[in-house]
């Protein structure tokens, strides 16, 4: 999936230049668009809605990062801090636990696979 902005290059470029770190960073409006479709929106969501959502996500990540920096080990963001911050939200908490568990399993599986390959 290409990360380039396919739609309305005029507005995108203009905003990208003048918008500050928010706009230029999480490029790939295509991603958010696909995500909205996946979660129940129309197949072609409005560009303005996509923009709003993108801004929301950036703000969300920024807030979480700031909060994580202020607890636990100061100045650093660690997984434990994130887990602590979302402990009250059942969906997010379950999701993070699942993701990290699966990541561990994948790593273990890859390691075993590599070792098996290397041995033979």
């Amino acid at each position: 999936m290409a990360d380039e902005e396919e739609d309305a290059p005029v507005s995108g470029a203009g905003r990208g230049a003048a918008g500050g770190p928010g706009r230029g960073w999480v490029r790939g409006r295509v991603r958010v668009r696909c995500m909205m479709y996946g979660f129940g929106d129309d197949q072609n969501p409005y560009t303005e809605s996509v923009d709003i959502l993108e801004d929301l996500v950036i703000e969300f990540i920024t807030e979480m990062t700031h909060k994580a920096m202020s607890i636990g080990r100061q100045g650093r963001v660690q997984v434990e801090d994130i887990v602590f911050l979302i402990r009250k939200d059942p969906r997010k908490f379950a999701r993070v636990k699942d993701l990290l568990t699966m990541n561990e399993e994948l790593k273990r599986a890859r390691k075993a696979f590599d070792e098996a390959n290397y041995g033979s």
Partner: protein
């Protein structure tokens, strides 16, 4: 499977007992699952690793917990170190419990984990039945739902630009996962708003803003800009 066979060396070499049966079942699953995983994991690029892992590891979902539980020592003997390990495993339980009571608690825990394992398997089967009966449009949507993700590089750049230091890969994984859930919450709420106002998708900015306002009042959107006054 009723015979008590010795535990595999990965456990603490403890003696086998009634839980050997459950332990065996638990053992086989992770082994089988990890053998399955390398194939899809190797064939997909690491960028989509999380997504491919989902597909491969949906079957192995319950096994992470199961493997963790099976690793706990299951000894009957009253050695000092085994007792302390038992006390660890039975979180928060009084370590001075009678050995028989402690054993019962451990049995219960093991049964509960087994039940959860079976429930996960049922759930996986149900999901498979459900997905197989999707229409094409629903299949498309489901595929978008599973496959869409935020680019890890962009998230990492964003977090690092805020902290000023580098962050570990786990943090990026966790953060992108949470962001996706967050998007889902907003979109679902916006769809509720849209339906309530008697309008149709595609979602308009007014729906999104109303959704955000509702989520904020529920406290699901972090906002550290204003101090909350508890008693007005």
């Amino acid at each position: 499977m009723a015979s008590s066979s010795p535990q595999p060396p990965s456990s603490a070499g403890a003696a086998a007992e009634a839980m050997a049966e459950a332990g065996e079942q638990g053992r086989e699953e992770p082994a089988a699952a990890t053998r399955e995983e390398p194939a899809p994991a190797a064939s997909s690029p690491s960028g989509d690793g999380a997504e491919a892992a989902e597909d491969a590891a949906v079957a192995a979902e319950g096994d992470g917990g199961e493997a963790g539980g099976a690793g706990e020592p299951k000894a009957e003997a009253l050695d000092g170190e085994v007792r302390s390990a038992e006390a660890e495993a039975v979180d928060g339980e009084d370590p001075s419990l009678q050995p028989s009571a402690a054993k019962k608690v451990k049995l219960e825990l093991k049964e509960r984990k087994e039940k959860k394992h079976k429930v996960d398997e049922d759930e996986i089967q149900k999901m498979q039945i459900l997905v197989s009966s999707f229409s094409e449009e629903q299949l498309n949507r489901y595929e978008m739902y599973r496959r869409s993700a935020f680019p890890k590089a962009a998230i990492k750049r964003l977090i690092q630009s805020i902290t000023g230091t580098s962050v570990s890969q786990n943090v990026v994984i966790a953060m992108s996962g949470i962001s996706k859930v967050f998007v889902g919450e907003v979109v679902e709420e916006a769809l509720d708003v849209c339906e309530k106002w008697g309008e149709l998708p595609p979602l308009q900015p007014k729906h999104m803003r109303e959704a955000v306002r509702r989520l904020k009042s529920r406290g699901q959107i972090p906002n550290s800009k204003y101090k909350k006054i508890i008693f007005h």
